[in-house]
């Protein structure tokens, strides 16, 4: 498998007011090429520190990290040349227009004068800023500034795009548009790293995640793998809907191997089992001459996973 980001034992400590703060604690993770990667955690969890290290803007205290094969300490310029980056809290010059900003960024990225107009127009169009391109940024709303921040990220046509808290302070419409844009960019083959604490907005579009808490990575992997792993560990919730009252079928279903609890509501039965018993439910329904209208696993949402892993960390800390 090809990775665009690989870190090993990445640690960052700061001295602040005489206290040593560990912002990142032996972080080890990879980002698959072509994935939409969610870096999840509460405010102050260490997400921005991690991103700043990946962009070569902050030096790690120890450990290593490579982005697109380049060492973050020795080759940070190469990284910034290839990676589109939208930092959290990015700001602009009030007296410049959107177009002038993008022209400046294009010049800093060494995009030839002849190509700039086309590249800038495309970025403006993608972010819906074409009609505001000659407006000074000082009068932009927060949402429009956020779009401009995204537009500057798109100028360099990077293989990897990093967005730090891209939907913070953005209205639901803006968040939806951002999700659509991420989907479109991902289809074009770009790998996308999104750092956020707003799970409900960004979570659903992530294929892979890392959950970070107080500088420590508490879980990582593909979302589906993590869901599967969690259900294996904590049990499968299965919802079955039948074409008639399930009361007659309930005693049989309750005796299926691994079933630990069951709730019956008219034609619907919700079971918790150690394994995925959907095929067994279908078999029993067929035997009992009951039609199965729907049969699905009630998978934990990203919010559920997030809270579960955060909770576990808290418990572990309490025990320690």
């Amino acid at each position: 498998m090809e990775y665009v980001v690989e870190t090993a034992e990445l640690t960052k400590t700061y001295r602040s007011h005489g206290i040593t703060i560990t912002a990142l604690d032996h972080g080890k993770f990879q980002i698959r090429k072509g994935s939409v990667f969610g870096l999840l955690g509460h405010n102050g969890a260490g997400k921005t520190t991690l991103i700043m290290i990946l962009m070569g803007l902050t030096l790690p205290t120890s450990g290593t990290a490579k982005v697109l094969g380049h060492d973050v300490v020795k080759e940070s310029l190469k990284i910034r040349r290839k990676v589109g980056f939208m930092p959290e809290g990015i700001g602009f010059y009030d007296h410049l227009t959107a177009q002038q900003h993008l022209d400046y960024v294009a010049a800093l990225n060494n995009i030839p004068q002849g190509e700039r107009k086309g590249v800038i127009d495309e970025a403006l169009s993608t972010t819906g800023l074409s009609e505001f391109k000659d407006r000074k940024v000082g009068v932009f709303s927060r949402g429009m500034s956020q779009r401009l921040a995204i537009a500057q990220t798109l100028l360099k046509d990077g293989e990897l795009l990093i967005f730090d808290e891209p939907t913070a302070g953005v209205d639901p419409e803006g968040a939806r548009e951002f999700k659509n844009l991420v989907g479109q960019l991902n289809k074009e083959g770009k790998t996308i790293l999104i750092s956020t604490h707003l799970l409900s907005e960004i979570g659903p579009i992530c294929s892979d995640i890392v959950i970070i808490r107080e500088g420590r990575i508490v879980v990582q992997g593909g979302v589906s793998e993590i869901v599967e792993r969690t259900m294996k560990e904590e049990g499968y919730w299965i919802e079955a809907k039948f074409n008639k009252d399930a009361a007659s079928l309930a005693p049989i279903l309750g005796k299926l191997e691994g079933v630990s609890s069951m709730e019956v509501k008219g034609e619907t039965v919700i079971l918790k089992a150690d394994t995925d018993i959907r095929s067994a439910i279908t078999r029993e329904a067929t035997k009992g001459k009951v039609d199965v209208l729907s049969l699905r696993r009630l998978e934990p949402s990203l919010e559920d996973l997030f809270m579960r892993f955060y909770g576990r960390e808290e418990e572990a800390k309490d025990i320690a």
Partner: protein, 327 residues
Amino acid sequence: MGVKKRRKILPDLLTVAFREFSDTIKSRRFILLVVVFGLIMVASMAALISEQTSYLGAMPTGFLGRVARGMTASIGYLAPIIGIALGCDEISGERERGSLKLLLAQPIYRDAVINGKFLAATLATTLAIFIPSLATVGGAMLYLGVSPTPDELVRLAVYLVFSVLFAMTFYAIATLLSTVSKKTSQSVMLSVGVWVALTVIIPLIAESVAGIFVPRPSLHMPQNQTSGPETIRIIMNPAEAEQMTKFHSMVESVSSITPNYHFDKIGLYILGGFSGVGLLGTLTSIGESLPLLEGLGQCWPNIVVLVLFALFAFVASYMIFTRQEIR
């Protein structure tokens, strides 16, 4: 899909410098600075010309003799303000706006940012000093009906170049304070504090300190004193004169820790007696001017110290900025 490898079109430093310079000279702050600087210079020069003609009864000879004092008085105070106004938000302002993150997210080294800013500030400062000065000189030529000689023009140009260096010393100090300050308001206060300390407080302290070790002799005016430059005389016996020399020598030693002292000295040697600059209270006899090259030869230690002040502040801000954590 990858990023095409492109040939460097323009060094990043120049890209940053061009943008900074363009933004600075179009800003209200810069335009206001130039206008205020020009007005103060004109007012100061008009007041001195009027004083020279009415109070002293006679005007010093030559073009520089009439305008140099007004110019040095204005530049001595205003050049640091230009430097501070341009430098006090160089880094803290970018940090507060969030535009520092925009810049550093791009594939450029940090030194391109700070060097580009420094280059742009040098050009902007040159404009801010030369435009009002040349306009005032032009106005004075028309008003007085006297044209400067080629030697006077060269002296003026050289003096203005050192004025830019003096302003850039304060720019570098303000940039250093802006680099270490979290907020621009803090950086502005610190910069103004430094300016007041170097321009007002240290010279006062110097006099007080000198007064402790060498009491300043009292000056006696002759009883039959009448108006007119030829009759201004101060009675001082040889012992008092020696004491006065020691006193001023001590004042100068203490004041030499400020860039202002060195700039005053450079001004005195370049514009000579024309400037009428009394170095920290000392009296300079008019007409004592040295040839320009000889004057520069005499004040080279002051030039070196002024350059070192600017260099030290700039290198310190450079080192801090390039090593600062971005969070």
